[in-house]
């Protein structure tokens, strides 16, 4: 039987009609005429009749977006919840082929010329440095044709991807905006629609940066534009999971209007892309009682390591000993597990020991951003690596934290 075939069957002595959905060795799932699916054991069900014709999924109606707007926007889909729909056969989430229905409901859509290209269909945990390079090259190609870029991306690793593109683009002619959703777009309550609406409006700004646009709070009112290198997913499931850490968002979108909250880099004349990344960099999360050999195994032979230390940036004495042994060959940087606030290695003796062991404090740079930055700098500027790591390049270091 094929999914969508009409069948007649009996279950525990009663007869029913339905549509075959799926089966495995143990059980069969059928959609009844009332719309409900039932799943039953194979031994309890007898298929009496199978009809030939398959109830085919109708093509989703798409609204024709007329190309008379003033702003070109290229939507690149890479996968994730925002670009997913339910696979009714397996019950799992699968990529959407046609995203046009997503922006059928966006306000002022006629001001924009929207284009779409599907780049990838992966869950964001499977994104790696090769993918970042692909995303960046595609974005450059479209920006060179005078389009702003919106990238649909899974939220789990969106901050890494946004940070990677931030560093790789040394200058850009248009904004690049990552957006996603925390509730899948198959449900009426999905945050995807407003996130897309906000992103499309942000895309007409003169922001020459790579940003993340997501809900500001749990209500469907405001969308925040976060600087890619300072944003972090801070909640597993809420709509407003993304926060700008230790700073304010660049802008807030509300009902067709954009309010600017902080300074930003303006768009430039050229798109300058350095598309080399070194992935021999790692993050190590310190914990009490961490064993020396475990730490050693994680950092040995790395080009650089971002340590997520406790509090102001600390690790235990035995780990400092290992760092001392390795720091002639491996660069060690310090970020904090606290997420908020900067590291400072001058306050406690442990910090001073770490400085003696050549550990370089990164103030309030986020550990994930620091890792991506090290990947970028070590591949492109290895001569001046440490110095540039400590220098603010894309707004990744706040020299002052205001609240």
């Amino acid at each position: 039987m094929l999914t969508g075939q009409k069948i007649e069957f009996s279950y525990k002595d009663n007869d029913y009609n339905g549509i075959f959905i799926s089966s495995d060795n143990e059980k069969t799932t059928i959609k009844l005429d009332n719309g409900y699916n039932i799943t039953v054991k194979n031994e309890d069900i007898k298929i009496k009749n199978v009809y030939g014709n398959i109830q085919k999924n109708k093509d989703i109606q798409m609204k024709n977006v007329e190309k008379h707007g003033k702003n070109n926007v290229y939507i690149l889909t890479t996968g994730g919840t925002i670009g997913s729909s339910i696979d009714y056969e397996t019950g799992a989430v699968k990529p959407v082929k046609d995203i046009s229905y997503l922006y059928n409901y966006v306000n002022n859509i006629d001001d924009y010329n929207l284009f779409h290209e599907n780049m990838d269909n992966i869950l964001s945990e499977n994104v790696d440095s090769k993918k970042w390079i692909n995303f960046a090259r595609k974005a450059k190609e479209k920006m060179d044709n005078n389009s702003s870029i919106i990238i649909f991306h899974g939220t789990d690793t969106m901050q890494y991807s946004a940070a990677a593109l931030s560093f790789m683009f040394e200058d850009q002619t248009n904004p690049i905006i990552f957006t996603g959703s925390q509730r899948s777009s198959d449900r009426p309550s999905s945050d995807a629609f407003l996130n897309i609406e906000g992103s499309i409006h942000f895309s007409s700004m003169d922001v020459g940066e790579v940003c993340i646009a997501m809900h500001s709070d749990t209500s469907d009112n405001n969308i925040s534009l976060h600087r890619g290198v300072r944003a972090r997913k801070m909640h597993t499931s809420k709509r407003d999971a993304f926060r700008t850490i230790d700073n304010s968002e660049i802008a807030i979108y509300n009902n067709g209007k954009i309010k600017i909250n902080a300074g930003y880099k303006k768009t430039g004349k050229n798109n300058i892309l350095n598309d080399k990344l070194n992935d021999n960099i790692s993050i190590v999360y310190f914990y009490p009682g961490m064993r020396e050999e475990d730490f050693y195994n994680m950092v040995y032979n790395k080009y650089a390591v971002i340590i997520m230390g406790t509090g102001l940036g600390h690790v235990s004495e035995n780990i400092i000993k290992v760092i001392k042994k390795l720091s002639r060959d491996v660069y060690f940087f310090m970020a904090s597990q606290c997420i908020y606030g900067g590291v400072n290695l001058n306050v406690y003796s442990t910090g001073r020991e770490l400085l003696k062991a050549n550990v370089i404090p990164l103030y309030d740079m986020l550990a994930e951003t620091a890792m991506v930055k090290a990947m970028y700098l070590s591949a492109n500027y290895s001569d001046n690596f440490v110095n540039l790591m400590k220098t603010n390049l894309r707004g990744e270091i706040n020299n002052r934290i205001l609240w």
Partner: protein, 595 residues
Amino acid sequence: MKIGLEIHFQLKGSKLFCSCDTEGEKTDFVIERKMTPVMSEMGEMDSAVKYEYIRNRKFIYHTSTNSCLVEKDDEPPHNVDYNALKTAIALSMGLHCKIVDYVSFMRKLVIDGSNTSGFQRTGIIGMNGYIKTSKGNVNISTITLEEDAARKIMENEEKAEYSLDRLGIPLIEISTEPDIINQEHALETAKAIGYLVMSMDNFRGEVDSIRQDVNFSMGYGRVEIKGVSKLSFIRDTVNYEINRQESLNEISRILKIKGCEISNFSDITDIFKNTESSMIKKAIKSGKSVFAARITNVNHLMKYNNYHLGKELADVAKNMGIGGMMHSDEFPGYGISDKELNNVYNLLIKGENDGIIIVLTYKNNIDQLLSLLRSRLNKIINMDLAETRAATGNGETRYLRPLPGKERMYPETDVPLFEINGNLLNEAREIIPETMEEVNSKLNNEYKLSNIESDGIINNNLYNTFVKLIKIYNEPRTISRLLLQTIPELNKKYNSKIGNEDIIKILNIAKNAGWDRSNIEKALEIFTVKKININELIKMDELKSLNDDEIKKIIAKLINNNSITEKNIIPSFKKETNSTFNAKKVIEIYKKLKN
């Protein structure tokens, strides 16, 4: 005539897909959401969903002490509540249904805002059962376990407000086939099912804990009437629907011959610049405009004798949040002057047989309203009356939305398939509810109660309590009297609410102390009045039972002083003591002493 019922009832305890309690209070936090229509797995948009989106409102949700991120649609659902599932299985068994091997929860799209997710989670538990009635078996098509919707607080043109306290409460839906033959039979069926439902231990039992939907058809399409709150309204609602459909049938016949069209709306605000009509004045002041349209050949069909076409059209406007549609069968009225009316009629070129409707609304609503009115009028003329209607508080119905189709169902992938295994089935078997006849025969034969007593227990849904109490204090007549008389009277007299837990504690004391009925009644009264700790009751003088020696002393005294007979010994004895006593014993001792 065909009638089917859908009976929904709430369970208490935990919500269906999170650990929040079913009971809670309002908190101050408010969130605001929008809903976007989505496609079903077949790539089609459900007509009911489309209709709601046309209204394009925003939704405000008030949080409560019993709501968490799950109700806010800010977290995926947790595992299904085991107790609720067990109850649904037990009830399905009680109604002779086939239990499914696995529960597959579905998402049923509802974008009227009553669910923060935009869908209701629901899964079939049992299929193909029946309930016995005097007119034969009424078949049960499905029994589903679902989450209740949020509670609507208010709505208007722009928004609807809901409280999250009710969202997610486990709801069991029992759907019958359209086997019910008339209004009385519907009532009987609802009662029989309702009895089973109410006898479940975790039935919530609050004011709105049972809601009935009535599916009705008399040949013009199926009408689904939502939310018939009281049993007696089932009959009223069906009667109302019969009248409505018969009257619409006559209207349709007339309009098919004469023809009927709605003109475009004209903005007639200028005519009312200096109006005396307070309603129109107020609307204009709030930025609304006055619009009128002509409908041909509906004069004296809008509201005249048994004709109520006006209401059918007003319902459409009302669903868009546009209240107070006026029409020519009601004029003169609403403080509109003759001059104003003439101006309106002239402007719209009203013919003798035409009707006029007037609405007060914002300009951007009017195109949408017109297209909805046109399609409604068409449906009526073609007598295609299938739709979803709402039951009103007075036994009437009003138009709600088109009937939903199966397009609005798709799998809930966040909740894994749940296998109903042998253990769960065995646990459910223990709590299968008994039918009214079974309970009646038990009360009469096993417990030897009179018909009046057993009816009282059944009608007041006290059977479960009765069985619980009998296990502690095995005197059926005493328990029956306590439940049917003593406790209701005390509650009424002292405006109190004696809980089952308290009764159980008092009966435990009674059993150990050898109290009889009068002691128990006295104990209940003292407990109600003085609100003391139940364990203190045993120490109170009034509740101490007199022993044989103490009884002898008092009787001896009475015999010496008065002419005491066997007839007046008890009242006389009562005057002599505050303590309780066993009356049989008193008479026994009196007889002994007398001789």
